[in-house]
C-alpha cells in the first residue's frame, strides 16, 4: 500500500481541517480528540450516535468524518449508507474514515461496500490518522453511482488503462460495454489491495 509514512519528516498542516467524530463511546472521543489536537486540528466536532452524526454532518459540513462501526441503534454501516444516499451532494461526497476494532476482511469489505473511503483499524494512533488523512488527500477516488451503491470506486487497481478512451464525456461519462459485447460492470467483490492487507493482519 502506498503510504506517506515513509516520508515522516515531511511537514503537514492540518490546522484548517474540520473533523466530525461519530462514536458512541465517550472515552474514544477523548482519545481521538487528544490525538487530533496533537496534530494541531482544532475544529473537532463530536457526535455520540449515528443520528446525531447525520445532523451534525448536515449542519457543520466537516471535511472528514471518523465513524465507528459498532453503534446502537443505528450502526456505522447504516450511517455511511445514509450519507452516500443523501440528496445533498456536498453531504453525499463527504470523506468518511472508518475506525474499527474489526480488522477481518469481512468487516472491512462491508465497510467498503457501505461507501467508506478508508478504514483504520484500532488501536488508533497519530501515525495511523496522519497516514490515512494524507493518503486520502493525495489519492482522491472517483465516485460511482449505481442502483445498489453510491460511493468511492471500490476498484483499486494501480495498473493504468492504456486503451482507447471511448467515453463520450471522459470527465464524467456513463460506462458502456467494451465494444465486444462484454458489459463493463462494477463487481461487488472488486479488486482490493490495501484493504485486504488490513484484514490479513488479523
Amino acid at each position: 500500500m502506498s503510504s506517506n509514512l515513509f516520508g515522516h519528516n515531511t511537514k503537514y498542516n492540518f490546522g484548517d481541517m474540520k473533523v466530525l467524530i461519530v462514536d458512541d463511546n465517550q472515552h474514544m472521543h477523548n482519545i481521538l480528540r487528544d490525538m487530533l489536537l496533537g496534530m494541531r486540528i482544532k475544529k473537532i466536532r463530536h457526535a455520540l450516535s449515528a443520528k446525531e452524526g447525520m445532523q451534525m454532518a448536515e449542519s457543520e459540513l466537516p471535511d472528514i468524518m471518523i465513524v465507528d462501526l459498532l453503534m446502537k441503534p443505528v450502526s456505522g454501516f447504516e450511517m455511511i449508507k445514509n450519507i452516500r444516499n443523501h440528496k445533498d451532494e456536498t453531504i453525499r461526497d463527504l470523506a468518511v474514515l472508518v475506525l474499527t476494532s474489526y480488522s477481518t476482511v469481512v468487516h472491512v469489505r462491508r465497510a467498503r461496500d457501505s461507501g467508506a473511503n478508508e478504514v483504520l483499524c484500532k488501536p488508533v494512533s497519530v501515525a495511523g490518522l496522519f497516514d490515512r488523512f494524507t493518503y486520502m488527500r493525495d489519492h482522491p477516488r472517483q465516485f460511482v453511482k449505481t442502483k445498489d451503491y453510491v460511493g468511492p470506486d471500490r476498484r483499486r487497481s494501480l495498473r493504468g488503462f492504456d486503451g482507447e478512451d471511448r467515453r463520450s464525456n471522459p470527465s464524467g461519462a456513463e460506462i458502456a460495454d467494451d465494444g465486444h459485447g462484454e458489459t463493463v460492470q462494477i463487481s461487488p467483490n472488486a479488486e482490493m489491495t490495501d484493504i485486504e492487507e488490513a484484514g490479513a493482519n488479523e
Binding site: 481541517m17 482519545i31 494541531r40 488523512f133 482522491p140
Partner: protein, 168 residues
C-alpha cells in the same frame, strides 16, 4: 481492423444497470497543506503528552465496564440483548486497551468478543464462561504490569480458550 473497431457503436447501459462516474471536489486537498506545519514526530509528541493523562483514567473505565457487564449478566432482559451489551462493552475495552498499554486486558476482551460471536448458544447454556471472562478482565487489569505473575498472565488466554472448548 481499426476501421472495423471505429464502426462499432457502444450501447449505453441503462435502467438498473446504469453506472455513473464522477469526481467529487477534493476538500482534503484544500485544507491539508504539505510542507508547512509539523512533522509526524512532533504531532506524536504533542498527542502523547495529552494521552498519558487520559490513560490515568483507563483503569476506572475498565472497572466500570466490568461492573456493567456483571449487571448485564444478572439482568432479566432476553439473553441475546444482554449478550449484545456485553459484547459492546468488551469491544470498547479491547479497542482502547492497546492505546494505554493494557495488552492483557485487550486480549481478554478480544477472547470474550470472539466467544460471543462464535458460540453464543454455548454461552447461553454455560454462562459461567461469560463470568469467567469478566472476572479475567478484572484480574488482567490488576496484574497487567505485575511481572511476579508472568506465568499466570501468559496462561490466562489459553485457560479461557480451554473453558470454551470444554463446554463444546
Amino acid at each position: 481492423m481499426s476501421d472495423k473497431k471505429e464502426n462499432k457503436v457502444a450501447p449505453r447501459l441503462q435502467g438498473e444497470h446504469a453506472v455513473e462516474f464522477y469526481t467529487p471536489r477534493n476538500r482534503l486537498a484544500e485544507v491539508i497543506r504539505p510542507n508547512s506545519g509539523h512533522t509526524l514526530k512532533e504531532m506524536e509528541f504533542a498527542a502523547e503528552q495529552r494521552i498519558r493523562k487520559l490513560g490515568e483514567d483507563y483503569p476506572e473505565l475498565v472497572k466500570k465496564a466490568v461492573a456493567d457487564m456483571k449487571a448485564d449478566l444478572a439482568s432479566d432482559a432476553p439473553f441475546k440483548e444482554r449478550l449484545d451489551d456485553i459484547f459492546m462493552r468488551a469491544h470498547d475495552l479491547k479497542g482502547q486497551a492497546a492505546t494505554f498499554g493494557y495488552k492483557l486486558v485487550g486480549d481478554v476482551g478480544k477472547s470474550l468478543c470472539a466467544a460471543i460471536r462464535a458460540v453464543p448458544d454455548l454461552l447461553e447454556k454455560e454462562q459461567d464462561i461469560l463470568q469467567l471472562h469478566i472476572n479475567a478482565i478484572s484480574w488482567a487489569l490488576q496484574h497487567e504490569h505485575d511481572d511476579k505473575v508472568a506465568t499466570q498472565k501468559s496462561e490466562l488466554i489459553n485457560s479461557l480458550h480451554e473453558s470454551i472448548k470444554k463446554g463444546l
